[in-house]
Amino acid sequence: MGILRFTCLPLLLLLLTGCYEDFTPDIETKPVLCLNSLITEGEPIKVSVTRTWLYTDTESATTRHVDDAEVTVYVNGAIVGDDYLPQQGDNIRIVAESRAYGRAEGEVTVPEAVPAESVEWDADVTHIWKHDTPGILNYILNFNLHATLTIKDPAGTDNYYLFSRESFPEDRGSYPVENIRFYPGVFRDDLEPIFSEHIGVFESITGDGSYGFTFFTDRQFQGSRYTLNLQFENLEYDVRNEEYSEDLFDCGLILNLSSVSSSYYNWCSYQWQVENGTLSDLTDVGLSDPFWGYSNVSTGAGVIAARSSSSHVINLKDFLQRELARE
């Protein structure tokens, strides 16, 4: 988070000369059921059923699993079996009951996938290196890529999105002895303002960015279009092969846009607060109210979330062939 977290807050605390003392609070606790499930369109539902434990219980890792729980899945009000595959728009309620820990339930609606209306991109070569060994195709090409992805937000609902990207072929991280290697570069999430909409005043003043948080909501463009500006830097294409083949240029990026449930978004927002938020720093030293984990399960433990995804492929084949042909 920058210097404030590392200098000013500790300086203040140093001034206050705080210290910690271990203790055992005299407070009653009762374990309850915890349900976790990420429901993905078209994939079987998996539910994790565990129980809560006292924070200081070091044995919990081996005892937290609940074996006697009976799990029932309701889809649009009807019980379904193991062969059920979630569909967009399905309302799914998961109920678990255990003799020891009681009942827990949570529900979610599988969101509608929102495919990109259009994806445009261009790339700028920043550096090309060519090996002069005769008879071997051996290049390293560095470039930046800028893409725009336009979506049309479905009207009438609050929608939550997650952007992610993949690349092909898979980056193995080692220099290619032969064939190709494609490094997808650094994605500059901080250059797309909508990825910062969750950042509060505290974090704004300390200069914190989104730290890889690429969730966003439709609060600023509800029911209308929005164009994501996606900047990728220092992409690198290495090729080392004895023969020229079109397959050698077959690489690119996969832009994934997932529609996620509010519970998915809230859970990840909570995670971000814990990891990057200034509030958690203040809480740690008792200068702010502590906050608990987000949950949409009746017991307050666990998250039932859902998502549907759409993807768009940016194939760099033509671009790479064109650029190398210039050399």
Binding site: G2, I3, L4, T7, C8, T17, C19, Y20, E21, D22, F23, P25, I27, T29, C34, N36, L38, S48, W53, L54, Y55, H127, S164, R188, D190, L191, P193, G200, V201, S204, I205, T206, G207, Y211, F213, F215, R219, Q220, N229, Q231, W267, S269, Y270, Q271, W272, Q273, V274, E275, L279, L282, G286, L287, S288, P290, W292, G293, Y294, S295, A301, A305
Partner: protein
């Protein structure tokens, strides 16, 4: 611990009652005023007398450890002046045969109610008497109201030895501090934003420096503070819990005098004097030293680091005031207050090869007040004060990063700038009238208009990466609001034993095309069957249109004052108070017991999991409306005169809150729900040169939310692929009470011919109090012949702050 607390209280009580009200005075043909200054310091008495009464009177007297009454008789034996001791006041006037009228000093506020027969009085070192609380509490109609003098503030030892108005008030019964060492306060179960702080009758929004460690009031130039916590005069409204009007000194008419103070954390300088025959001035400046102290520290740190750290922090208060007497009937005044905090920090990195990285954080926040006014006396019974004022609270937070790297002939550069600003601008116009139709009634009335302008946090970002520039700005806009208020109040002595103060404050608050309104009736009744004792009762309603959003217990520049908007209603509080007051015949002792029951409505607080709602949503979306109640009883015993003075108080209280969207709608104890609170202050005037002060406070621990259970976190891909492993299970809000809090602060003042030294010890017996509890980890290492095993075990931990902190300062008077 209980035994220790009991012993401490007993010792302090013994000290409190040990000394008599005797004085030692030696003077040879000295001006009478100078002699009274000495008597005043020894006894704590105020001297009230008509302007010019003591002009030209010199005194020759030699008294050692003599009772006050005898000393006064001796001093006045050869003059035509008589005295009367009334409570903590000594009223001087000419003997009847030589009475004359003198209207030279026009009071902007009425003279004390008890001295209706002597309407034109003044107090030493001051031109006019303005406090409505001069009279002993046993004689007034008000309940839970007190005038606190600057000396009383200075006599309470505090952290870093920095005399502090708000921390002095925290020693009053029924008042709790927010976090240890901080300047926030909760009055009779109210919230921290429920207190209206005023500087010469003009509201101050930002009353803290350095996160709340210091308040914004420079005690070197304060004359007194009027503090109302139960029955509130109809003139005041706009906050739920308490009203505090800090009054500054007027300029000295006798010459240019002042003082300079140098302490560990700050220094102050003030001077006042005449400008011609009709005008006086006062200038006071206080500034902290942290930036100066940090220079050598940073030089040492930076000498060994490739990355240079930049740190510069100070806070400052500047007060300037001019008074001008136009005529016997008109006095004018103009004043400016500017208080700010400035924090500049960051780093500079330059590897001297190809990489440079610069981070800058410039934070600036504070308050500006400018006001001008006219006190005018229409006739002997009617006077008025007209005020025009501007108050501005501002916050400017800037972050700027620059990164440059040179690679193979090309330069890559990147810049990001984030600006956040937050401010309030108020224009205030008001007229306050004071009418005394006869000796038994005093009617105060007035009206005011305030034009508010609120800009909640507005953030803009500019990012420049190579040739790509991205600019974003949120859509936060400025909210204008108009507030109109009027009040009338009558203080009526129905009989010699029965007195009533009734009033009404009406207000309209217009924002966003919606008009919100409030009617605040006030009534307090005092019945004193005998001179030394009174029974009182009061009903008070207060209305609050603005509230402060704060995510931490500190006072930070990110705190925002927000007007009541949308569907939220103005916050209101209804309070019933009853009490009994006693004061000894010589005014040396007083005791009181006050019970109260307060109901608060339309309170606002953050709702559960508010932090999940993005800032771009209206702040309303993060808040929930609810109610609260507070009830309790305050006992207090004070010793007002003698070599040892002080007070002991005990409060029994209960405070709760209920919000629709917090804690599942269930009622929970408020953070400041202190069942028991004990405060003891002792000031021992050892000699003319030495004074010892002690303040002990103890109260039931704050309520805190302890999250005892964990649950297994889901492994969804989320923020940067971080998986916390587990998450805290929600629980009842404020389900845990921290251990009993107690602390003793000491200070010693040693005078010499030029000024005085002040030595202080905060938390003298080094009891580090628990301010929070949390889930932490205990790292352990086990060494065996074959292995070294490191383990990290989850444990609950108490967070403790503030050990013993010594302080020293010197004040030079001239």
């Amino acid at each position: 611990m209980r035994r220790f607390v009991t012993t401490t209280i007993l010792i302090l009580l013994f000290l409190l009652s040990a000394a008599a009200q005797n004085v030692t005075v030696k003077a040879v043909n000295q001006p009478a005023e100078a002699v009274f200054k000495s008597v005043m310091k020894q006894t704590g008495k105020n001297f009230l007398y008509p302007s010019g009464l003591l002009d030209g009177i010199n005194v020759t007297v030699s008294l050692k450890d003599t009772p006050l009454k005898k000393a006064l008789s001796e001093i006045f034996s050869s003059t035509d002046i008589e005295y009367k001791i009334k409570g903590n006041n000594v009223i001087l006037k000419r003997k009847p045969k030589r009475t004359k009228t003198n209207n030279r000093s026009v009071t902007p506020h009425p003279a004390p109610a008890t001295s209706a027969a002597t309407p034109d009085v003044r107090i030493l070192d001051e031109l006019v008497v303005v406090s409505r609380l001069e009279a002993p509490e046993v004689t007034t109609a008000e309940i839970g109201a007190r005038k606190i003098t600057a000396d009383e503030v200075r006599d309470i030892p505090v952290i870093f030895g920095e005399a502090d108005v708000i921390k002095a008030l925290q020693m009053q019964p029924g008042v709790s501090e927010g976090s240890e060492g901080m300047a926030g306060m909760h009055v009779h179960g109210g919230d921290a934003d429920g207190n209206l702080y005023m500087l010469d009758n003009v509201p101050v929004y930002q009353v803290n420096h350095f996160g709340g460690l210091f308040s914004a009031f420079n005690t070197d130039i304060i004359r007194y503070i009027d503090f109302f916590k139960s029955s509130v005069p109809a003139k005041y409204d706009g906050r739920l819990s308490s009203f505090m009007d800090v009054r500054l000194l007027n300029g000295n008419r006798d010459g240019h005098h002042g003082s300079a103070r140098l302490g560990l954390t700050s220094g102050a300088f003030n001077i006042s004097g005449p400008i011609g025959a009709r005008t006086t001035y006062l200038v006071g400046l206080r500034r902290s030293w942290y930036d100066v102290l940090s220079i050598p520290m940073l030089a040492i740190i930076n000498s060994k680091q490739e990355e240079k750290t930049r740190f510069h922090y100070y806070f400052m208060d500047l007060n300037a005031k001019v008074n001008h007497r136009f005529s016997d009937k008109a006095n004018g005044f103009a004043s400016i207050y500017f208080g700010d905090d400035m924090l500049k920090t960051g780093t500079d990195y330059d590897d001297q090869i190809d990489t440079r990285d610069k981070e800058r954080y410039d934070f600036h926040w504070g308050n500006l007040i400018a006001q001008a006014g006219l006190n005018y006396r229409f006739n002997q019974g009617l006077s008025a004060e007209f005020t025009a004022a501007y108050t501005r609270y501002f916050t400017s937070l800037k972050n700027h990063d620059e990164y440059t790297v040179a690679t193979e002939g090309s330069i890559f550069s990147e810049e990001e700038t984030v600006n956040t600003s937050n401010n309030i601008n108020d224009w205030i116009f008001r007229g306050d009238f004071d009418w005394q139709p006869d000796g038994r009634q005093r009617v105060r009335f007035g009206a005011g208009y305030v034009r508010h302008s609120f800009l909640p946090a507005r953030t803009s970002r500019t990012s420049i990466v190579g040739s790509l520039t991205t600019q974003t700005s949120d859509s936060t806009r400025t909210y204008g609001a108009n507030e109109v208020n009027a009040y009338i109040e009558d203080d009526w002595r129905i009989t010699d034993h029965l007195r009533i103060n009734g009033g009404l404050h009406a207000s309209l608050f217009n924002i966003g095309g919606k008009v919100k309104w409030g009617i605040s009736p006030r009534v307090s009744v005092s019945w004193h069957p005998v001179e030394a004792f009174a029974l009182k009762g009061a009903y008070t309603r207060t209305v609050q249109y603005v509230h402060q959003l704060s995510q931490s217990y500190l006072s930070l520049p990110t705190d925002q004052w927000i007007p009541v908007t949308g569907d939220f209603k103005p916050q209101t509080a209804d309070k019933i108070s009853v009490g009994g007051y006693w004061q000894s015949a010589d005014g040396g002792w007083s005791a009181s017991v006050e019970g109260y029951w307060k109901w608060m409505h339309n309170l606002l607080d953050y709702r559960d999991e508010y932090y999940l709602r993005p800032p771009l949503e209206m702040w309303d979306a993060r808040l929930t409306s609810g109610r609260g109640s507070a009830k309790g009883i305050d006992f207090e015993l004070r010793k007002l005169t003698g070599k040892v003075t002080g007070q002991v108080s005990y409060s029994l209280g209960r405070v709760d809150r209920t919000f629709a969207d917090k804690n599942g709608g269930r009622t929970y104890p408020a953070r400041s729900d202190h069942r028991h609170t004990i405060n003891v202050v002792v000031n021992w005037h050892v000699s003319d040169k030495v004074q010892l002060n002690a303040a002990w406070t103890g109260h039931s621990g704050n309520r805190f939310t302890l999250l005892p259970q964990r649950w297994e976190a889901p492994e969804f891909s989320g923020a940067q692929g971080y998986y916390p492993g587990d998450a805290p299970l929600r629980t009842t809000v404020n389900n845990y009470q921290l251990p009993f809090y107690h602390r003793l602060d000491l200070s010693c003042t040693v005078r010499n011919s030029r000024g005085y030294w002040t030595f202080g010890l905060y938390n003298a017996y080094n009891h580090m109090n628990v301010v929070a509890v949390r889930g932490g980890y205990r790292d352990e290492t086990e060494v065996t012949p074959d292995h070294i095993i490191y383990t990290s075990r989850p444990v609950f931990q108490k967070v403790k702050l503030l050990p013993v902190i010594p302080s020293i300062s010197y004040t030079w008077e001239f």
